[in-house]
Symmetry: C2
Subunit: 425 residues, 2 copies
Amino acid sequence: MHFEMICTGEEVLSGQIVDTNAAWVAQRLLSHGVEMHSRVTLGDRMADLVGAFRQAAGRAQVVLVNGGLGPTEDDLSTEAMAQAMGVELELHQGWLETMTAFFERRGRPMAAVNRKQALLPAGAVMIDNPVGTACGFRVQWQGTWFVFTPGVPHELKKMVNDEILPWLMTDFGVHAGMPLHRILTIGQGESHLAAQLEELELPDGLDLGYRASLPYIELKLMQRRPVAEAALDKTVATIHQRIGDAWVGDNVVSVAEAVHQLMLQRQLSLVTAESCTGGMVASQLVDFAGSSGYLQGGWVTYSNQAKQQELGVATEVLEQHGAVSLQTAQAMAQGARSKLGSDLAISITGVAGPDGGSEEKPVGTVAFALAHASGCDTQLLNLGFRQRNQIRVLATTVALDMVRRHLLGLSPIAEYGYLRRVATL
Amino acid sequence: MHFEMICTGEEVLSGQIVDTNAAWVAQRLLSHGVEMHSRVTLGDRMADLVGAFRQAAGRAQVVLVNGGLGPTEDDLSTEAMAQAMGVELELHQGWLETMTAFFERRGRPMAAVNRKQALLPAGAVMIDNPVGTACGFRVQWQGTWFVFTPGVPHELKKMVNDEILPWLMTDFGVHAGMPLHRILTIGQGESHLAAQLEELELPDGLDLGYRASLPYIELKLMQRRPVAEAALDKTVATIHQRIGDAWVGDNVVSVAEAVHQLMLQRQLSLVTAESCTGGMVASQLVDFAGSSGYLQGGWVTYSNQAKQQELGVATEVLEQHGAVSLQTAQAMAQGARSKLGSDLAISITGVAGPDGGSEEKPVGTVAFALAHASGCDTQLLNLGFRQRNQIRVLATTVALDMVRRHLLGLSPIAEYGYLRRVATL
């Protein structure tokens, strides 16, 4: 189906509001196999709206118009549609009564301006809005259905879910769509991944896409037509094999989510000992409900004093090897693990910059240690010359990936491509 | 100036990414008086891109194109422009060398596919990208300048700030708007703030705008014409007075930034003791370079065991009052403060949900304590029925605001409007 969207409103166009409605509509319809073909965002100018309706008419099968159905002067969508079509606005008596009752229930009189919201282009079909005063409507012109929806997010969502999707399913044979398989990677650039997957033979109907969402690059396997499960599984396995240690999870939004799921399955306990990440590892896990099932606690040992007093890092270790060293990371992890008798402890200590780097340990140098029942794995990585926060996000991701790999029985020390390993103990 | 934007990429169109680039560009240019006239969002289809370029040509003065400059097959922007114009792609030797050096510095070979990123439409002017492999370019066609920018947000921002805005200033007489004064607030809705400021008399040339950026609502004072400093100061002071404790900072991006600045000025030390925020308070401070100057460390005491062992919270306190209580928060803060001999300690313990709530302490109940040389301030707030992460973000903001208010000599216990205080000690 050729589907387009027209978003209206100065506040969306000018960036005062980030247009989450557009993203929501696109995802909701994509889940029913309907791809958005294009999207136009316009301010509150009558001529622009009329022009956009005229351009889409005859080209698209369905155009979803969002916004501009309110009672004020800058709400122009309905009148613009009537102008484009060259028809009159007609009063929808049923909606006028619904609105009047809506205000009565709230104990306030309906303002005169609201009457405008019951005026629809001649020939339009009203679409109910049980949670607001702006009804939607759909109207067919030059073979194209224009579907008008309110800009208030929860009103839009209810209308799409309750009215518009069922209509698309009945009248256009749209149905809930194929699942998307997402493979999360770190440490390889998009071009490097593409080169590794260049000659990959995809089953018919399966497309491979890339999405950069730092620190990740996500590989997306999209089913254009239904693909046999075995063929999909085989493709996923081949991709895993080709990209090697860059793979950090399937169908998760972050490594933290993968760790969260695995920790709950394994019924082990975890503590964190963080220096340059400053609590980000713990916080990413606490994001998920149920993290109290395994996360006992954590330390942000930002100063040397905290490392010594709280985690028992020996003065000699700090003096001999420095705060950013394999030895300090190891002592932090082991100290943290013993304090609450945890199964696992992960530690991070590094130079996040912009100051504090040296020739031997430039900005981006980060030491990690994972202490567990049978020992302690350590690595010193050079995460490259990046901004402070990017280094912290990358370090958090690597730390969580060490936990993930350990829980899967893999070596916590991975080959990450552009995240260069300097040393291990 | 007639300015339009074309956003490309399946992930933006399909809503997998909310298009924050578009909002950022609109706001950044608006700060220089340039309004976005319209915006088209397209997927990775050659014909659609060519069509959009053709439509904008001759109509707009400047079209900013975002995305589609990567090395992979679905990056089509450059070729689409060449096709639209009917010109060849030409190798930009300088950018090829820059890219080769870029990869060399990172100790990896440049993949063959990256060569594509040095091909520009004949006649184009290359735009430098010092932080990525996708150079930008601008090319004039039918009187319209098309300016191509990378989709990676920090690359886009750097290019707009360092290259494109200066070019617009030189060639189009665009100039930076007057400084914007931003007032950060929490705990009041936009309509409530608007009501409090309704009869505010603004000096000539000064506009008041609102921007919701959760958990904040930002008030923006925009100078359409130069406004005398004294008049601006007076307006700011009046706004502060009217909005009361909702005010949490001027010209800062977050309360964390305000705390960071104040802590460095006051030369005091701070530790954090976090339960439901799980390290978010510490992490927000560590985001700022120089935070090691005051942040000694922190504890994520997620389990009762951690609260007892690490911070010395008495078993009786936990048993009698529960983990989410003023008493536990107080014991956490005092325990944390004494452990490293810090000047200040802030603690947070709450029910972030979705489970764990009770009738007495529903989801959203959070206890805070700030321990300092002359005592300990506590409060128990009901942050309302919100999603887990929203509650954690709000709790982090309130905790940091307690520190901020203490440093300014105000009571840490504020009246936040919709953030309801249940009790204090």
